[in-house]
Symmetry: C2
Subunit: 120 residues, 2 copies
DNA sequence: GCCGTATTCAACCGACCGGTTGACCACGCC
DNA sequence: GGCGTGGTCAACCGGTCGGTTGAATACGGC
């Protein structure tokens, strides 16, 4: 069953070789052969990696004679940053709130921090 | 063999259930039982998911009687955003440069865009 | 010391993943 | 039309993954 986009993107970037390919595509488009050259693995293996990136929407490809140049689609990366940033922020906010509660406990040692927080 | 941190984190978040767990931990710490409650899968399966998040450094746990409350470690998320943002920016910059070249070609149709770019 | 609760460990299973090799297709060139 | 080049498809292999079940461990309460 088709995993959601976000899972695909995270999963695609979970592989060092694929991250490396993305890194190199960030500096400019490249063909499969060019991309495969630095690695010791077979061309087919790299071709598969590219396919995964393509399925995740991270890479698009045109035709140019028999060559299939790969192009990085950077917008998809936003999907991830948005997800990550959302929860990072939430966690940070909660952290700050906790700090505030602790500070208040310092000032008024008698107060119950839990009722204070749930009342806010 | 221990995959690098970045791979671990990306891989950990490639699973929807684990992303969901992270999302819920962003709103506050929780025990394994609490985290497992919404899902239909076994408690052990959720326990494994948490282990993966822990190994990736995304979650830490304390002891509190027999309970093992989970806490989200949001700093690790920065590792990812830094990686992502770096290459997103690189790609965007390249895009802008390309735009500039194209604009110049419009102005001076005789100029060779390739030598122009490599000369800069 | 025993019981219940919270959690983990261990073994197993089917599916998927990253890699291989070998055959195949698409195109430009002569 | 045949050849070289660029790339993919297909079948296979060992390893990991997400899930299961069943047994074990760790702790607080009585």
């Amino acid at each position: 069953m088709p995993d959601d986009r976000l899972s695909q993107v995270f999963s695609a970037l979970a592989d060092p070789t694929r991250r490396d390919i993305v890194a190199r595509l960030a500096t400019g488009d490249a063909t499969v052969n060019e991309l495969a050259e630095p690695y010791e693995v077979s061309l087919q293996a790299v071709s598969k990696h590219i396919r995964v990136l393509e399925d995740a929407g991270l890479v698009s490809r045109s035709r140019e004679a028999q060559r299939r140049p790969c192009h990085l689609e950077a917008e998809v990366l936003d999907l991830m940053t948005k997800w990550i940033e959302r929860y990072r922020r939430e966690a940070e906010d909660r952290f700050r709130r906790l700090d505030a509660v602790l500070a208040r406990m310092d000032e008024e040692p008698g107060a119950d921090p839990l009722t204070e927080e749930s009342a806010s």
